[in-house]
């Protein structure tokens, strides 16, 4: 077999490994294997590439790889769990930058040799633009997530952004028409870098994961166009795989946040429900999504559901029972903690849960459930407020001081489902909402529970 054949075969193998890797990454059971498959594919690709006859000097190449591997490994191993998303953004930016540089280097070389064709010019221009946008866009995302970057929108941003966009298109055309003047190429890169900043600067931190996903798709496309520059099938295939699947992932993430990609990109502010309500909680509230709750529940072995008046208002009892059966089907232990004054009449919760055919065995009174919270992974408080208010226990001057409450705050994580931060019957703020282990799911009780069940069934 000839060396080019060997390389081509290696590339084919790598492509297959990438395909399998990507597919596996999308499933919990196989995700780790998927990552390994991808890495193996990359290894195969790199090794066969080194056989390439065009490579005559391994010094720079080795130096680059060594530095890159070291930096990459260090960053990856030392990052805190919470810092991972921003690290992904950073890596992604580097990938985009690398594409720009490779395409640029090749472009310069070919221009030097004087045999630029249209294909190459178009591909190089696209790579320059997309890669550059990916690079600076990712850096901005990184900065915003680290909260070290405090830039935000400014008046006229729309205009400047549109201008930069038009300029980039014009420059790209010029590069294709006049490939020989390589200055245009670098000008295009410069505008691309600017555009990357302008496109991301106004986007809020909450939307950043979506932006990173989108930029990830971009870096895939940049790799793919680089493939056209280099006439390299593997770059084309791997790049477009990532580009296309990245787009789908972006879409999935947008759906999960109930937003459209356009909303995110044009930074239409999300309707932040919490802001409008109570200042008593300042910024301390951590809000969550049904998907995240589902994820927590997936790994929980004991779950306590604490219903309150809000469950009744939302008429969520049937949905709650569904949640119970779904969780039990997954082998999770589920009980209900019923506070004596939950609801608005004695036995309010009993009436509703009986209607929903929740067995009496599942209902634990306060005295029986309280000792178990410490062994509970997740407590879901649905529409209860006063009855889980720790100020009754902890603050002697509280209007409800001394009332026994459900000690939900002792459980691993507390998810509170309610529509807003407004108080319950007693009209007092609830310190539970700002506790470290509390997540708030702002939604109508019934819809929220149905969403959680849906996410559980999908997961």
């Amino acid at each position: 077999m000839t060396v080019p054949d060997l390389i081509a075969l290696g590339y084919l193998a790598a492509a297959v490994l990438f395909i399998l890797g990507l597919k596996s990454l999308g499933r919990p059971r196989t995700a780790a294997r998927g990552n390994l498959l991808g890495a193996t594919g990359m290894f195969v690709a790199v090794v066969v590439t080194l056989l390439d006859r065009a490579i005559v000097d391994f010094r720079f190449l080795a130096a680059g790889v060594a530095v890159g591997a070291l930096v990459g490994a260090l960053l990856a191993m030392k990052v805190q769990m919470t810092g991972m998303p921003e690290l992904v953004a950073l890596f992604n930016g580097f990938g985009g930058a690398a594409s720009v540089l490779v395409a640029g280097a090749t472009f310069l070389e070919v221009v030097d040799l004087g045999n630029v064709d249209d294909q190459l010019a178009v591909a190089a221009a696209l790579t320059a633009l997309i890669g550059a946008v990916t690079f600076t866009g990712s850096l901005v995302a990184f900065g915003k997530l680290r909260e070290s970057l405090r830039w935000s929108s400014f008046a006229g941003l729309h205009v400047v952004r549109a201008a930069a966009f038009v300029a980039s298109l014009v420059l790209a055309t010029v590069v294709v028409v006049q490939p020989a003047s390589t200055g245009w190429f670098w000008a295009l890169v410069a505008v691309g870098l600017l555009l990357g900043v302008l496109a991301t600067i106004a986007i809020g931190g909450a939307d950043m994961p979506v932006v990173i996903a989108l930029l990830n798709a971009f870096s895939g496309v940049a790799a793919s166009t680089t493939g056209f520059v280099l006439d390299n099938s593997l770059l084309i295939i791997a790049g477009s795989l990532v580009g296309a699947s990245g787009l789908i992932l972006t879409q999935i993430m947008c759906n999960a946040m109930n937003r459209s990609i356009l909303d995110v990109v044009f930074s239409k502010a999300a309707v932040v429900q919490s802001g409008s309500h109570d200042d008593a909680y300042a910024d301390g509230v951590t809000s969550t999504s049904a998907e995240e709750v589902a994820m927590l529940l997936e790994v929980a072995s004991r779950v306590v559901v604490v219903p309150g008046y809000g469950m009744a208002v939302a008429q969520a009892q049937h949905a709650v029972r569904e949640l119970m059966t779904t969780l039990e089907g997954m082998g999770t232990e589920v009980v209900f903690g019923i506070h004596p004054v939950a609801g608005r009449m004695p036995g309010h919760m009993n009436v509703l849960l009986a209607e929903a055919e929740v067995d009496y065995e599942h209902l634990l009174e306060m005295d029986r459930v309280n000792p178990t919270f410490a062994q509970t992974d997740v407590t879901i408080v649905i529409g209860a407020n006063d009855v889980v208010n720790p100020s009754a226990r902890d603050e002697s001057d509280s209007p409800i001081a001394g009332m026994p409450i459900l000690d939900v705050d002792e459980s691993g994580t507390v998810v509170v489902i309610k529509r807003s931060l407004s108080p319950g019957f007693a009209g007092i703020p609830n310190p539970l909402f700002v506790a470290d282990n509390t997540l708030l799911l702002f939604a109508d009780g019934k819809q929220a529970v149905l969403d959680i069940v849906g996410a559980l069934l999908e997961g």
Partner: protein, 375 residues
């Protein structure tokens, strides 16, 4: 066809055999309906409603009964006065319980009237439209639980409140026929913890199909010498001992109701608990129950009402009336009634015709009764 209905004379009876709605249906079918004035009063169905539905309201019983046609009643006429006026032209439709109380039917047969006893309808799918035992048992089962709920010293549902947790009442239903099942369902609705028992395997499944628990007795050993009835009683006792309310509704067609609850079993029950015997008309399922009386035994209150269907006279009468309309429609061809003895439903319910009892089961019962009175 002329269809007559009168005021029921039995004590405590508040039902009536035809409702204004049923009257309207019969009139629409081309029948003539004659109603004794006041017939529906106790069921909250005034004369005016009948008249509006197209019935002729007449002042007295005799006028209502007339010379012939269908005479619909809830309880069969059982005194000479009530039998007066009936003759060969009449088809008398009602609940006569002739297998258990054959004598009154014999008197009725003697008038020459054709007698159709609604309680002899076969329990088949097709016959259900005319099955008054089913419809009345539905009312009885429901009322039984309401009466039990109102009479027992505890609440039914689990309530976790600031004044402590009220545990759910435990209700045991013995005999899961129509009435028993309805009692199971109603007690479950009210939040009680319900257990049901029956000797029929299917009935146990039916209890579970209402979300209640069935009491499944362990299989008896083949070499077990214990009397099956005694064994059942022994095995049921712990369930009764836990119960707040026991409702018994076990019957056997045409026979004395089986005794399910012995004195000893009542004594095993908790003071303050309640036993409601729905089978009192044919002797009751509890050895201590006295029809329509309240017995207090060892702190256990034992009720044996026979008039629970009259507790919802309006609904009960309407259902009864619909059964009667369905029967008339089943029997009528070309506006006239023909008793097609090929039809298993008709054959099963025809007790007497031409002055004689023709139903084999009833004849047997009559013979047995005479034999009994002879000895």
């Amino acid at each position: 066809m002329r269809i007559a209905v009168v005021r029921e004379r039995a004590a405590h009876e508040r039902r009536v055999a035809l409702s204004p709605e049923a009257t309207a249906n019969l009139v629409a079918d081309g029948h003539e309906v004659v109603v004794e004035s006041g017939a529906g009063d106790s069921a909250n169905m005034p004369d005016t409603a009948y008249a509006d539905a197209g019935a002729t309201v007449v002042a007295d019983r005799a006028a209502a009964i007339g010379e012939g046609g269908v005479f619909a009643c809830v309880n069969g006429p059982d005194t000479p006065e009530l039998l007066a006026g009936l003759g060969p032209g009449h088809i008398v439709v009602g609940v006569f319980d002739p297998l258990w109380r054959p004598a009154p039917v014999a008197d009725l047969a003697a008038t020459g009237a054709k007698v159709l006893s609604l309680d002899l309808v076969p329990r088949s799918t097709r016959a259900q439209a005319v099955d008054v035992l089913s419809s009345m048992a539905t009312v009885v089962g429901f009322q039984a639980v309401l009466v039990a709920g109102a009479r027992m010293p505890r609440l039914m549902p689990l309530l976790i409140t600031a004044a402590g947790t009220v545990p759910p009442a435990r209700v045991v239903v013995l005999g899961a026929g129509v009435a028993g099942l309805q009692a199971v369902a109603t007690a479950k609705r009210l939040g009680a913890v319900v257990e049901g028992f029956d000797i029929r395997e299917e009935a146990l499944e039916q209890i579970r199909s209402l979300g209640a628990n069935s009491i499944d007795l362990p299989e008896a050993d083949a070499d077990d010498a214990e009397d099956p009835a005694a064994r059942t009683q022994r095995l049921l006792t712990p369930h009764l001992a836990e119960a707040d309310v026991v409702i018994t509704a076990a019957q056997v067609v045409g026979r004395r109701s089986p005794t399910l609850v012995t004195d000893a079993m009542v004594e095993a029950m908790r003071p303050g608990s309640l036993l409601l015997d729905l089978a009192a008309e044919r002797g009751g399922n509890c050895a201590l129950s006295r029809a329509d009386e309240e017995v207090l035994h060892n702190g256990v209150t034992i009720l044996a009402p026979t008039d629970l269907a009259s507790g919802s006279p309006l609904s009960a009468s309407r259902m009864f009336a619909n059964n009667v309309v369905n029967l008339v429609r089943m029997l009528c061809t070309d506006g006239d009634i023909h008793l097609d003895l090929e039809d298993d439903i008709v054959a099963a319910m025809l007790v007497a015709t031409g002055g004689a009892v023709v139903h084999p089961g009833v004849s047997e019962a009559l013979d047995a009764a005479e034999g009994g009175s002879d000895s």
